[in-house]
Structure formats: C-alpha cells, structure tokens
Symmetry: C2
Subunit: 187 residues, 2 copies
C-alpha cells in the first residue's frame, strides 16, 4: 500500500508549538501515515502527538529530521512524489487530478511539505508540485486538511484507528464517548 | 445576500495568538463574511487580520465581543442558524445537506462557532447543529476550512477580493505576484 508522509519545515519551539501540533494531528486525522518534523528539535511536540496516538489509536509515524533537504532527497530516491503546499502554487482544483493519478493509479508514495513563516526558495524547485489551497494567505493547517480531504474525497472523515482507548459516538448534543473495557459515557 | 460569520470562543492572548490568527485568515480565505473574537480582548490579533484585509482585499468584518452567549442570542434573534464545530458532533457527511439547505435554499444566515481548549457546555445546547469534521482530535483551524470548503464545494478557492493591493498569479515554480499600480514581479 502506498503511503503519505507530511514534512513540517522550520519548527520553532516557542512560536510554533501549537501550530505544529495541529499540523501533526491533522495529518493523522486526515489519513496521512506519518509526520516528520524539521527545524528545532522539540521533544514535547513529538510526545504530544504520541500521546494522542496512544489514546486515540494509530498506526501513525512521528519522527524528526535535522536536515529537511536530505530527507526530501532520500524520499525522492525512494520514489516519493514531492508536493509542496504554498499560496503561490497552482490552485488545487487545477492540479488535484494529476496528484490523484500519481497516488491512486501509479501507486506512488507522496510527501506533503508544509512550511512555517519562511520557506527556503529551493523547495519551489525541488517540489514536483507546488500546490495552492486557494491563492490567499491563511494557514498551513487548513491547507493540509483541505488537500488531504480533496485527495481522499471526504472518506478520511470516516476513518477508524487501531488500538484506540477512546472513541467518540457522534452525537447531536453533548459528548458521547466509549472508553475501551468500559461502558459508554454521556457527559 | 445571506451571510456567514465565524465566532471564535475563548481566545487567550499568549497561548492562542497564532491559532486565532489562522482562524481569522481561514474565515476570510474560505468565503465567510467576518469573524467575531471572544475571550481576552487582543488588539494585536484584530490588527493583524485588518492588515491582511488592507493588503489582500475584502470585504471582511473583524470584531470582538466580551460576551459570546449574548452575541449568539442576538444572532439567533436575527435569524442566524448556529453551527458549532466539535469533534463530538454529527459527522460532516451526515449533516452537510441539511446545512446547505438552510444556507442556499432557505437563505438563512449562519454563525459558525469554533472553540479553543475548553468549550462551555451550554454551547452544545444552544447550537442548532453540533458538527464534527471527523470524530478525531485535530484542529479548529482545519475544521473551519473543511466545513466551509464542503459548504461552498471548492468554489471558495477561486474567490477574488476587492481593493487588493497584491494578488498572486498561480505558478508551477516560485512566486509570481501582481502589485497594484505596478508590473508583475517574479521572485
């Protein structure tokens, strides 16, 4: 089965901790197979994602690279298609069919790269696809979610996870959860 | 023309500044008409959104309320449908048709409420719809983007804005922008 990894560039411990956490959680919830963080090494960030996996299930890979460029080159050598999400790129509706074809027809692996404030210029050249989720400024978190949602056509919203200790039962009012080896709880 | 407002609850100046900014930018980029912040009053946050509007165009309303519950009641009295995005809610694919009908057929205004860490329990009762963007933990930024993208069926990604000083020309490589009263620039 071919895979999707997310590569988050330029993490800064103080400034980005919540945004980078959201990027990781979105990658997991929207059916990517793992996230690789780059920038400053942040053990708390990695542990916060691991805690979510422990509680809500997996599998989902979390790792760190000190050298994003080498990481991308390694992934390219392994046959990954490199997709860079950027407001300057080709708008999603104009490019999604090509990317679907890479993933679903040609069974290629994808690495989806999302930057932080400043993205190194090389990345625009290294990427196979520079993709805009609309050409307006917004959020790498939103861009990643919408990209994966278009790729999986909404089916990712129905995804279930293995070894979850807790599971939500969708509810019109309030919070209904099932905790493993326990009864369902209403709060 | 009926409208969509986003209401962001529980903003905390230190902890939420970047996440709340992303929520505002997503609201604008994905075709909502405005954002109302609640929680701590944060002039920098409001100004950061206003600066984006000044540069990238509008119209887009930015405001603050010290009392979110009163705000929601006021909006309900004006006929707004209250949509609360929460991982505990009914999953988006099961509820989007009803919401589309409220907006496009019945021409109702919508207010889309997104919380921060702790959401007051009342909100689950006050809301007309508690909607999950998948029942997994991720991000209110992603939830808002995907909700609006499903509502507008991707057309919001093509939206243009009035009085923009700068506009992107989608590009396969690099950054191509048009600055008003100036030539296009390639970098």
């Amino acid at each position: 089965m071919n895979k999707i990894l997310v590569l988050r560039l330029g993490h800064r411990i103080e400034r980005d901790k919540r945004v980078s956490t959201h990027v990781g959680l979105v990658a997991r919830a929207f059916n990517a197979d793992g996230i690789i963080y780059s920038g400053e090494f942040d053990n708390n960030l990695i542990n916060s994602i691991k805690k979510v996996i422990e509680k809500w299930g997996g599998p989902f890979l979390v790792s760190y690279t000190p050298d994003w460029k080498r990481e991308i080159k390694n992934l390219r050598d392994k046959g990954f298609v490199i997709i860079h999400l950027t407001m300057y790129g080709i708008n999603l509706p104009d490019v999604i069919d090509s990317i679907k074809s890479e993933f679903f027809d040609k069974k290629k692996n994808l690495v989806v790269v999302v930057g932080s404030e400043k993205v190194p210029r090389d990345l625009y050249e290294i990427a196979d696809y520079n993709v805009a989720i609309g050409n307006q400024p917004h959020s790498e978190i939103a861009a990643l979610a919408v990209f994966l949602d278009w790729l999986f056509e909404g089916k990712e919203l129905l995804k279930t996870f293995n070894n979850a200790k807790i599971r939500i039962i969708p509810s019109a009012r309030g919070k209904k959860v099932v905790v493993k080896n326990s009864k369902s709880s209403n709060t």
